[in-house]
């Protein structure tokens, strides 16, 4: 009985066992799901840390490191500790270091792959901190302001140095070398043309035809006269047509020849122009010694501008994502995924990343700066508002006040406009190296400096103005490498003049494009130095000018010779054209 019941139960159980579904699989799915979720929770911090380091490194182009990342699920947020971004141009320096970055994210939007942050706090930011690698620490030991104030080497270049630097840009050399090559090409072309013309206007053939005509008309008959005059007219027409062709060819030839001749004739003048340009650039001109400021401050300012432009370009991926258009749709490259993301119209458009407000505190040796950055987003076109930032500080150590503000307006990518304004007041400069020259090192031992920088970059066009003033200044002119002759005397005069300077002001104006900008620098040091070394400079200039001109003429000499040879060859072709024309004209006289 019992056995029978068991059999029946077993049979019922077998019938119940589905052939399609396995219920225990559901349990396993839940267990596996829980396991994956547990593992995710366990490793999400580490994963976030690695993801930020890897994405940051690929964007910046230099190592980005993070000490710790802490992801919280409720409320959804992220805290980053010890973020270090290496300066790609100086791998031993961190361009940016943040002690702590914390923010909360909007959960539902995060599910839609949108990072929306209402408020972010960025604390303990430090700039230009040294990095430790293999136990070696490379530190310049300079604050950013000191680096900005550092000036280029002040050396009056010798002829050879100036010439070598400018050789590639010599207009005279380019013109003459170009004309020499053109003359050679023109000679070959015109010789070919002459052969063609001579073949077409076959003088012997014309003479033969004329002789035949004369023989025919020897007997005076009506038929001979009529037929002969028709032949004569045809012959005359052919000869006149050839004369016309040759005359037009000669006109073109003359135009070519004259243009090349003009280059050769103008060569001395272009050499003089090049000489003047180099002198203006390198020497202290007697007309007010206006170039001293450019010589002193120009290279450093230009290098600072280039560095700022590079950082502007590096920041671009963060503040303006590159979008392609495919069939009218915006297509963007995701930061950490394959393929591209295609964007569609949203009911409530939001950028993929947006931090509406970031409160930032920056620690500098002078003290702490506080500031705010608004509308940080990779999609400003969607947000419709530009990124704005403003930092300020007062009563810092050795600095009365400082403020930095600006905007990155990329709302309309075609009309992008970035604006930056920096204002420093009462900077107590001490031991700032102004001129790092071997022969004439100049330090600002002490002084009270004010600095204003205003710059704008609009549609690739750069405009900037830098004004700096130093009062209560004490300049220290070091005893550098002794130079002989005039250079030594100029050094001496400059040393004495600078030792008496107690205040100085400088204005730099930058205009142009990001790739090619012009820099104009004015300083009251010009006047000081003009009176100090004007006489010496006038003497120096005479020699410098002569030597530079000789060097340029020497360089241009070879191509000028080639141009002369080419012109002689062309001249011969011109004579041949004239001869051909004359021969054709003589035919008509017969």
């Amino acid at each position: 009985m019992t056995g029978q019941a068991d059999k029946e139960r077993g049979g019922a159980g077998a019938r119940k066992r589905s052939k399609v579904v396995r219920w225990q699989g559901l349990l396993i799915f839940v267990v596996l799901g829980a396991l994956v979720a547990g593992l995710w929770l366990l490793f999400v911090d580490r994963y976030a840390e690695r993801a930020i380091e890897s994405a940051g490194t690929s964007i910046v182009g230099a190592k980005v490191e993070l000490d710790q990342a802490d992801v919280s699920l409720s409320p959804l947020g992220l805290t980053l500790v010890g973020l270090k971004v290496t300066n790609p141009d100086a791998p031993m320096t961190n361009a940016f270091e943040a002690g702590r970055i914390a923010f909360r994210m909007d959960g539902p939007n995060a599910l839609r792959r949108k990072i929306i942050i209402e408020e972010m706090s960025v604390e303990d930011v430090r700039l230009n901190t040294p990095r430790k690698t293999s136990g070696a620490v490379a530190s310049t030991g300079k604050t950013p302001l000191e680096q900005l104030a550092e000036l280029p080497s002040f050396v009056i270049p010798n002829v050879q140095e100036a010439f070598e630097k400018e050789k590639a840009d010599l207009r005279s050399l380019k013109l003459v070398a170009g004309a020499a090559a053109d003359a050679e090409t023109a000679r070959t072309r015109w010789e070919e043309k002459l052969r063609e013309l001579e073949a077409a206007a076959d003088i012997e053939k014309y003479k033969k035809r004329y002789a035949e005509f004369k023989a025919k008309t020897g007997k005076v008959t009506v038929g001979n006269l009529i037929g002969g005059s028709a032949d004569l007219i045809a012959l005359q027409k052919a000869v006149k047509a050839d004369i016309q062709t040759v005359t037009e060819a000669k006109k073109l030839f003359t135009a070519d020849f004259s243009a090349l001749q003009k280059v050769a004739a103008d060569a001395p003048a272009t050499i003089r122009d090049d000489t003047r340009r180099i002198i203006d650039k390198y020497s202290l001109t007697p007309a007010g010694l206006t170039n001293i400021s450019r010589m002193l401050f120009g290279p450093k300012i230009a290098s600072s501008v280039r560095s700022a432009l590079q950082w502007n370009e590096r920041l671009t991926p963060f503040i303006e994502r590159v979008k392609e258009k495919v069939n009218g749709k915006d297509v963007v490259k995701p930061v950490r995924a394959e393929g591209r993301n295609v964007r569609f119209r949203e009911d409530r458009p939001l950028p993929d990343f947006l931090a509406r407000l970031a409160k930032v505190s920056i620690s500098l040796p002078q003290g702490s700066f506080a500031g705010r950055v608004e509308n940080m987003t990779s999609d400003p076109d969607i947000l419709g508002q530009p990124l704005k930032f403003a930092f300020s500080a007062e009563k810092l150590k050795g600095l009365r006040s400082a403020s930095l503000e600006g905007t990155f307006d990329r709302v309309d990518p075609a009309a992008r406009k970035d604006v930056l304004n920096l204002r420093l007041r009462g900077y107590e400069a001490r031991d700032v190296k102004l001129v790092a020259s071997k022969s004439l090192p100049v330090d600002l031992a002490e002084g009270l400096a004010d600095l204003d920088v205003s710059a704008s970059l609009e549609k690739g066009s750069l405009t900037a103005r830098i004004t700096a003033g130093v009062r209560s200044a004490r300049l220290l002119v070091g005893k550098g490498e002794e130079r002989q002759g005039l250079a030594g005397r100029v050094d001496g005069a400059i040393r004495s003049a600078l030792a008496g300077v107690t205040s100085l002001s400088l204005t730099a104006e930058i205009t142009g494009t990001t790739e090619d900008f012009e820099l104009k620098v004015r300083s009251d040091l010009d006047e000081v130095l003009k009176s100090a070394v004007g006489g010496l400079v006038r003497d120096q200039l005479a020699g410098f000018e002569g030597d530079i001109q000789k060097a340029i003429a020497g360089e241009v000499d070879g191509p000028l010779g080639k141009l002369g040879a080419g012109l002689k060859g062309l001249e011969a072709v011109g004579l041949d054209l004239d001869t051909l024309n004359k021969k054709l004209a003589d035919l008509l006289k017969k």
Binding site: R22, Q24, R113, N327, A337, E338, G339
Partner: protein, 173 residues
């Protein structure tokens, strides 16, 4: 490697129905082609476990097709881009784009879209192809394989015997 050989033998030689093996392989193609933790793959993991689909075939297929999927990514990108930028599908994609579930799925990524659509399109043809291949193997190749020295050696291995003893545990064949 040995484990893979054991698995393939186990899968193909088991008494599992060819349709269950084929389904496992077909689902593995989608999982291998598309990002592992996509929303649709979570659904596939559920289907694999909940329905009587051959798990070994699925795992083995996922492993084998993973490399193929990576190689085909550029093709998936092009397919996905073409689909996502088709003007007559724009309304559909826009509706998806505004729905949270589809954003979680990341459907608007060209590689996700291209690989998913490719996997789905290949699903039915591959199902019939795998079915026929399993039947052919069992009828014509199985006996020869059993006589191979390497197979005999593997079957004599302790590990294989333990694996055999686990057969039919909880119906997860």
């Amino acid at each position: 490697m040995i484990q893979s050989v054991i698995k393939i033998l186990k899968v193909l030689n088991s008494e599992t129905h060819p349709a269950q093996i084929s389904l496992g392989l077909c689902f593995s193609v989608i999982v291998a082609f598309t990002p592992k933790f996509s929303l649709h793959n979570i659904v596939i993991y559920f289907l694999i476990l909940f329905f009587r689909i051959n798990l070994s075939a699925f795992l083995l297929g996922s492993f084998l097709f993973m490399g193929v999927g990576a190689l085909l990514d550029p093709l998936f990108h092009r397919i996905g881009l073409a689909l996502l930028t088709m003007p007559w599908l724009e309304r559909l994609w826009t509706a998806f784009y505004n729905a949270t579930m589809w954003r979680v799925e990341n459907f608007n990524n060209t590689v996700v879209m291209g690989s998913l659509v490719s996997g789905l399109v290949l699903f039915a043809p591959l199902y019939f192809l795998f079915n026929r291949a399993v039947l052919y193997y069992r009828k014509n190749v199985y006996a020869h394989v059993q006589n191979l020295k390497i197979v005999k050696a593997i079957k004599a291995n302790n590990f294989y015997q333990r694996y055999q003893s686990l057969k039919d545990w909880g119906g997860l064949s």
